[in-house]
């Protein structure tokens, strides 16, 4: 038991990989066995995450559940793990969404074994990003997650999957090149990849590097990091891969993509960019805030203009993640003030609540698509009468995404706006106008799907949401309402880290 507590992050991180190996040994034809095994295994990291939440020390500074394992001593890199109040909610998000994604995949018939293995590997990749305290390990996990997602889109995606998967991986890999180079540079200059030491050593640099003034080197490295994370978030104008990837990805893939993978970029800003480059972050915060505001406004317009239900939800992710980045920019500009703390608290909470809501929305799109095989909003309509439970859940989830008071989105957006408004008054005001359009496209989606005349094409073969599908939505809805009513559930943990860092 003690061993387990001492190595709890290692166990959480690699249990999915172990599960993938177990699945590899099971017969590929027994689909029920594969599904239940994958589901069972993916619940264990969730249980351990709950254990960590219960044992988390709210008053301690720094990282908890730390552990250090030998990895690549020759270049001073080790598998150093630990979580704080910013990363633990992200770990919870990942371990929560993975079993739900598996549960959402019970209708997959083609090559189910490989499909489930990829999901479990994806979980290890994403968790690794959140729990690594070694810059090189962080990069390893950052890239490792790409491969399963690429194949999930490429093999189980829609008609245009080759294009979408290639665009996804080439955008992200190209965006990460600067990150790769900057990681190497920082490692070479600092002589270590240990996050805590790197922050100290890198910030202490004041001599020119390679004959270039240190400020210039840091500015270039800052942009290298920022672009890699901006592509992943994605921030306008690096977002064009996202609607394509979402449209083509299988339902569960979209859930993880929107729920977890987009958070990796925002997390990167909080964990690396702000601590490594405080001056550059403050200096360029305005530019970042402008891009974020553009993402909010244009993302909302983009969503409103879509005829494809799934593309609409994809653009809404750009819209919401823009809010997260706006808060991060405000925190960078006003580091050390209560405004910054409020903004970061809001952004981490929004990352979580958007993760839950977006995963739910993508799943609900998938529920309709499984029955109608179309996502064309002009061909849907009037479904509420035929599928009342589904209709209720869809409205509930959309409202959580929209930020209706009482549901999870509201508290986080309120914190973000109250933190950003004093820092970027005009931009925040524009962003709030963008929120108006968020309401517009959300209502449009609800109208097109649930209201209006019923398309007789679907008469007779439209069933309400099934028990299994409801089981996917219930935990998500519990979080939406739980965080809406009692935000301290997560805010206490988040704030425990934020008050020390920002």
């Amino acid at each position: 038991m003690n061993w387990l507590i001492d190595n709890i992050l290692l166990v959480v991180l690699f249990l999915p990989t172990l599960g993938a190996l177990i699945l590899l040994c099971l017969p590929g034809s027994k689909s029920r066995l594969l599904l239940w095994t994958a589901l069972g295994i993916s619940l264990i990291p969730l249980a351990f995450t709950v254990v960590m939440l219960l044992r988390f020390n709210y008053s301690a500074e720094g990282y908890q559940f730390m552990a250090d394992y030998q990895w690549y001593a020759a270049i001073q890199s080790s598998l150093k793990l630990g979580v704080d109040g910013i990363s633990l909610p992200m770990v919870l998000l990942t371990t929560l969404l993975t079993p739900l994604a598996v549960l959402a995949s019970f209708k997959i018939s083609q090559n189910l074994k490989a499909y489930l293995i990829l999901f479990l590997l994806l979980e290890t990749g994403s968790l690794g990003v959140f729990v690594s305290l070694d810059l090189l390990m962080f990069f390893v996990f950052w890239e490792v997650g790409l491969v399963p997602m690429y194949f999930l889109i490429n093999q189980w995606g829609g008609e245009n999957r080759n294009y979408a998967s290639l665009k996804f991986i080439l955008f992200t890999m190209t965006g990460s090149l600067g990150l790769l180079l900057a990681t190497q540079l920082i490692g070479v200059v600092s002589g270590t990849y240990d996050l805590v030491q790197v922050v100290a050593k890198w910030n202490a640099l004041d001599q020119p590097l390679f004959g270039i003034p240190i400020a210039t080197v840091k500015t270039i490295a800052f942009w290298a990091f920022a672009i890699a994370f901006a592509v992943k978030v994605p921030i306008w104008p690096f977002h064009t891969w996202l609607p394509d990837a979402h449209t083509e990805a299988p339902t569960a893939g979209s859930m993880i993509l929107a729920g977890v993978l987009l958070k990796l970029g925002a997390y990167g800003f909080l964990r690396f960019v702000l601590p490594f480059f405080p001056e550059q972050s403050a200096h360029f915060a305005g530019a970042l805030a402008i891009l974020a505001t553009l993402a909010i406004v244009l993302g909302a317009f983009g969503a409103y203009g879509q005829k494809d239900f799934k593309r609409l939800v994809a653009y809404s992710s750009i819209n919401h993640m823009g809010m997260v980045v706006l808060a991060i920019a405000a925190a960078a500009a006003a580091a050390g003030t209560p405004d910054a703390a409020s903004a970061v608290n809001g952004s981490v909470l929004l990352m979580f609540s958007h993760g839950v809501a977006a995963a739910g929305m993508f799943f609900l799109v998938g529920v309709i698509y499984d029955q109608t095989h179309t996502r064309d909003l002009t061909r849907l309509g009037g479904f509420w009468q035929k599928t009342p439970v589904y209709g209720g859940i869809l409205i509930f989830t959309s409202m959580a995404a929209l930020g209706l008071p009482g549901l999870s989105g509201f508290v986080s957006e309120f914190l973000i706006v109250s933190g950003s408004l004093p820092v970027f008054t005009v931009l925040t005001a524009v962003a709030m106008l963008g929120l108006l359009f968020t309401g517009l496209y959300t209502l449009k989606a609800i109208r097109d799907v649930l209201h209006g005349p019923f398309n007789v094409e679907w008469a007779g073969h439209l069933n309400d949401i099934s028990k299994r599908e409801t089981a996917v939505m219930v935990p998500l809805m519990l979080f939406m309402i739980g965080l809406g009513i009692w935000p301290r559930l997560l805010l206490d943990i988040i704030n425990a880290a934020v008050k020390h860092i920002f």
Binding site: A74, V140, I169, M173, L185
Partner: protein, 494 residues
């Protein structure tokens, strides 16, 4: 395990397979089964002993290990002298892996199996001989003797459309390279003035800096031609494509390493001052190798040419690591030599498996092979991810230190070389998509069978090595560090 250290293990490792090769030639013409079983025994023996050499190798003791000498021509200072250090021990192991894999995937060779299996053993032994030679003359002896089975195998069992051209081109380039290197090394040995070809003794001689600067490019570039250095890389893709599968595996997997390995052992180690003087040029050429090689691979339509050019690109990383002349770069180069050797052997093995079944390597003609040969597809994906430098696979843990070393030596080269990584991703994903996924063109390709269990064993085995090295780089890195530390000492503790 001291009793192992007392055995002349390297000599046994070279001699026994050689006897098998000779024995195979003595079999009656037309015998089919005996040659392949004897070759398997000989190759398996070399593999087994190379494994022992790698794992028993003591990382904490500096210098050469398993040394075994015999005074052959004392008057000329030439002796038989074998031994390995941390750089050559993994290379010997690699030779064992690739040779055994090559023999297994060639199991069904119908055309003159007696000669084929004998020559492939000759080739394996001569390559292992280069890696374990501690005498300049002996090293050249093994290097040149390898040309004979290589050339014969390409022109006899190669791809009919290109075999004469490819075989000739490869042989002439390699002759050019080794002549340059020989001229350089003879000059160096005579300048050293100790009447000995013993590498360990030559290392003790401080050569005049002018001499080093003059002769270093002969030795280094001469050998690097064998490793596909720009602009002398052109033999490699043509040679690889013309060669039969097993020879492609050995050529790209270990023969190219022979070139760069000798460039390190006789070039950089004997002439560290020359290396420092010429390093900027090599960095430029190696960077061109990486980026230009990747671009050339991107525009190929022939499946095998893609892999051929990818080797040119990846060997550029090895040369870049060498030219950085620091701990990180040399470590990465050592890792990359091993990683690329296993990876490219796996690539060529699978290219051969696909070609044997479809009789085409044209990306336009192929498709959907993952449904017919799922394990081969998986193996190709693993090798592809290694090639892309994806973390979790051996390519990443090799290329990353090379980049770190390059940052210290020439930051601009690191920034340029990274372009190669994206291009590699593009051509690898394109190849995987075109060959293994999509619709299977049944009307063009007809019936395609899955690969036999022998081939599956090889695909799984090589894949496991690549993944294990990627996840646990410290399985091999400390061994290589033992080798690079002595190079660093010669370079003046950089």
């Amino acid at each position: 395990m001291t009793w192992i250290n007392d055995l002349p293990i390297l000599t046994i490792m070279l001699a026994v397979p050689l006897l098998f090769a000779v024995a195979i030639l003595c079999l009656p013409a037309g015998s089919k089964n005996a040659p392949r079983w004897l070759a398997l025994a000989g190759g398996g023996f070399l593999f087994l002993l190379s494994t022992i050499v790698f794992f028993v190798f003591d990382k904490s003791t500096p210098g050469y290990q398993f040394v075994d000498t015999f005074n052959w021509l004392p008057a000329l200072g030439i002796s038989y002298r074998v031994g390995v250090d941390g750089i050559s021990a993994p290379m010997v192991f690699l030779t064992g892996i690739v040779l055994l894999s090559g023999i297994v995937v060639s199991w069904k060779i119908e055309d003159r199996p007696r000669e084929f299996f004998s020559y492939i053993l000759f080739l394996g032994v001569s390559v292992a001989g280069v890696f374990s030679s501690l005498d300049v003359f002996q090293l050249f002896f093994f290097l040149e003797i390898a040309v004979f089975p290589k050339y014969l195998m390409i022109v006899m069992w190669g791809w009919p459309q290109k075999k004469e051209y490819g075989g000739m081109k490869l042989t002439l380039y390699l002759f050019l390279g080794s002549m340059l290197a020989l001229a350089g090394i003879l000059a160096v040995v005579s300048k050293a003035g100790i009447n000995s070809f013993d590498i360990t003794q030559l290392l003790g001689v401080k050569l005049d800096v002018g001499v080093q600067k003059l002769w270093f490019p002969f030795v280094f570039i001469g050998f690097a031609i064998l490793g596909g250095l720009f602009p002398f890389y052109n033999w490699a893709p043509d040679g690889h494509v013309a060669a039969p599968t097993a020879v492609s595996m050995l050529l790209a997997g270990v023969e190219m390493k022979v070139g760069v390995f000798a460039a390190l052992r006789l070039g950089i180690r004997l002439m560290p001052e020359g290396a420092k003087f010429w390093a900027p040029l090599i960095i430029v050429l190696a960077t061109i190798n990486i980026v230009y090689g990747a671009f050339l691979a991107l525009v190929q339509k022939d499946f095998k040419y893609i892999i051929g050019f990818s080797s040119v690109s990846h060997m550029g990383f090895v040369l870049l690591g060498f030219a950085s002349l620091n701990a990180d770069g040399l470590l990465g180069a050592g890792m990359q030599m091993f990683s690329h050797g296993v990876m490219t052997a796996l690539f060529f093995a699978i290219v051969g498996m696909v070609y044997d079944r479809t009789h085409t390597r044209d990306l336009e003609q192929l498709g959907g092979m993952s449904r017919k040969m799922p394990l081969a597809a998986l193996g190709f994906i693993v090798a592809g991810l290694v090639s892309m430098g994806m973390p979790g696979f051996s390519g990443f843990v090799s290329e990353f230190p090379i980049f770190m070393g390059t940052w210290q030596a020439a930051p601009v080269a690191a920034i340029v070389a990274v372009i190669g990584v994206v291009i590699t991703a593009a051509y690898i994903l394109r190849t995987i998509g075109n060959v293994f996924f999509g619709a299977f063109p049944a009307e063009k390709l007809g019936e395609v069978s899955d690969i036999p269990w022998r081939d599956k064993v090889i695909v799984i085995g090589l894949s496991i090595i690549l993944i294990a090295m990627g996840i646990f780089p410290s399985l091999i890195a400390p061994v290589i560090e033992q080798g690079t530390s002595s190079v660093l000492a010669l370079l003046g503790g950089m």
